[in-house]
Symmetry: C2
Subunit: 447 residues, 2 copies
Amino acid sequence: MATDDLSALTAAQAAASIGDGFVSAEELVAACLDRIAAIEEAVGAFAHLDAENALAQARACDEWRRSGRPTGPLHGVPVAVKDLIDTADYPTECGSPFLSGRRPRTDATVVSRLRAAGAVIIGKAVTTEFAYYHPGKTRNPRDLERTPGGSSSGSAAAVAAGMVPVAIGTQTNGSIIRPASFCGVFAMKPSHGLVSRAGVLPLSRTLDHVGPFARSIEDLALMLDAMAGYDAQDPDTRPVAARNFRQVAAEEFGLPPRFAFVKTPVWEKADAGARDAFEQLAQELGDDCFAYDLPERYAEAWDAQRAIMATEMAHNLGKLTDQGGDRISSRFRAVIAEGRNVGATQYLAAVALARALRDSLVELFQQECTAIITPAAPGAAPRGLDATGDPAFNTLWTLLGLPAITLPLLADDDGLPIGVQLVGAPGDDARLLRTARALVERLSGAE
Amino acid sequence: MATDDLSALTAAQAAASIGDGFVSAEELVAACLDRIAAIEEAVGAFAHLDAENALAQARACDEWRRSGRPTGPLHGVPVAVKDLIDTADYPTECGSPFLSGRRPRTDATVVSRLRAAGAVIIGKAVTTEFAYYHPGKTRNPRDLERTPGGSSSGSAAAVAAGMVPVAIGTQTNGSIIRPASFCGVFAMKPSHGLVSRAGVLPLSRTLDHVGPFARSIEDLALMLDAMAGYDAQDPDTRPVAARNFRQVAAEEFGLPPRFAFVKTPVWEKADAGARDAFEQLAQELGDDCFAYDLPERYAEAWDAQRAIMATEMAHNLGKLTDQGGDRISSRFRAVIAEGRNVGATQYLAAVALARALRDSLVELFQQECTAIITPAAPGAAPRGLDATGDPAFNTLWTLLGLPAITLPLLADDDGLPIGVQLVGAPGDDARLLRTARALVERLSGAE
């Protein structure tokens, strides 16, 4: 295969090709490195890239396979890892000059799990400063004058630009779903507690999630199979048997999935084009889609998320921020100061509200819909590189810890992508993946 | 058997006698009611007592047994339940005139579990107001001019006075171990999350525990077997297999248990008599006991417990306190006001400190000792009924969620009891019970 063809493969296709011996891991990784070399200067997706290290990992994969030993489902597949997530063989600077040169001694649990599945860690993808709003160098590959979104800017851009088939990022508010929407790729924020955060810079135990970026639903499932699982180092993970996400995602529904179209209390933040596109989409789904108005109490969710996020960030990163002084952005220092002013009962009320809102949605999923359908972002990626866009359409689902997927199914008049966000029942990530696949097939006319 | 003999039986003896047909549940409960009738006016252990209801439960137990159906390990055994714990057939007023006449519709989970084991709920034992410091009517059966301790005042007094063989109470700071020490009975605060708090008035999710009072270690284990277990309504319980506490408690040690004598940073709060008694006890244990100084950081635990307790009480009971106005004691209103002034990051730092202190003790239990030995209270019960004594020797172990047992093994010069507190490794309640049994046998000269 030509280099361009190789770097365009999905992870599932690449793993199959390597497994069948049509291509080596080294060839695949070399093809991705070529693609990166050609466009990285324009896109700026990587904080740290070490071609020799990546090729060495790939050669070790090939040697392992030639020895006849069993290989994992991601054997030889290159993955970009958000620079907020620890890696033993690359620096992890969390987008902050204050952490310049920081080198963790060990991999984050999720990185270890990816390596155990055979993945090649090709490099560290750009994050905004500490996964908050201060942007990094990354540009949107769909239009270099626009933001890729954040905070997982590099992960979304690298997958969108064909540099890697898959990447991982984190979301505390809208940091996976929003950049994926802006860059036009698939991405998933799994249920809270499904993927370990051990070794990931902690912003907020209540809100932090780790999830995959990809160019297909199948790849999201393949990644989640490798990433998900109990970890004693993350007290929010649970020692329960993992689903086979890839298999469940591929299964057919007995009855077609039914969608609740939820505008949310921030609907007026969506631009006119996005609002029209979603109204049309809901119409197109006909009887399989119904409008659902969230009870009034849900309007409190945005303030609650803000109180929890600011408080827990101040708890986790306050000391570091004080030490960093003016090497920390003023916007970041402001949220730490904000968190320090939250009262403890206000914080506990916000946590209790999140639990109550999540519990009150369970019935909707049990009785009325397979998934919620709602915008992934207020519209296409905004122009400019000084800001990363508005996470308002992600806040509620992050606060509730529900699984969410964005699908690059819509576009604005300029052809820029707008993501369709599907939100599933708590803990039912497998069925959400299956629902997403069914929706993509339906809208692309496949059966 | 004579009535006096019946009311003096332990729960294990009583259950065995009923099981063997030597005595009926009705006779046992009637004997306890007689004993209550004789001394309740002096002691004031009960907030609600309904002799007819108790006898009806007992007769139903007898009928059930006569029908040949299988019986539970507490079949026919009367239990007193702290009036902070919901019961469907008695009022639950939580020691507050503001909740006068409150009647829950359902039993707390722990009450359901006791009933399922065959127990007769004989009545509701006095609690201080909302399990905080404002005392109820209960007097110490060992000396009626002294406090029984609190907040589980009635539970401790009822068991000490021979009114019931067993009772249950709750502890958020020192509310099980301290009154048991003052009244001279056995009691246990199990590991955090072992016994469900669903249906118990919530003060503090982080600190609330439910535990048994009894007149033997065997009865504590018997009660814990019935009380412990996963409950989806209490998010801190875990779906793991329960131990057979009674069986494990009865097993012999291969090597004799080894005790770490921990004075804690509040040692100077103990009175001279208690300090002497503990120094002597440590000497008596010889090579099986060594002095252990907690690292300096443990001194912060008392402030941390205070911040967590006040905050979570304000979160859970703030609204009720506002509604109650002057029907709520000023001392209670003061802690709610205090909780409302705690900052969210101060609260999270306290929670993080608790976790760190608990984790840093694990090695001590794994490598050096079977249990910590330390005072259950600063000394014997203080004179007077206006206050319930100082929980300072309980605060640390409650904050850390470790299992703790008090044993009525020491006495002051007036013969008033002083409890010996044993503290075990997190989650190892079974071994702690076994250690307690071994210590009691050793000090009583049994082999």
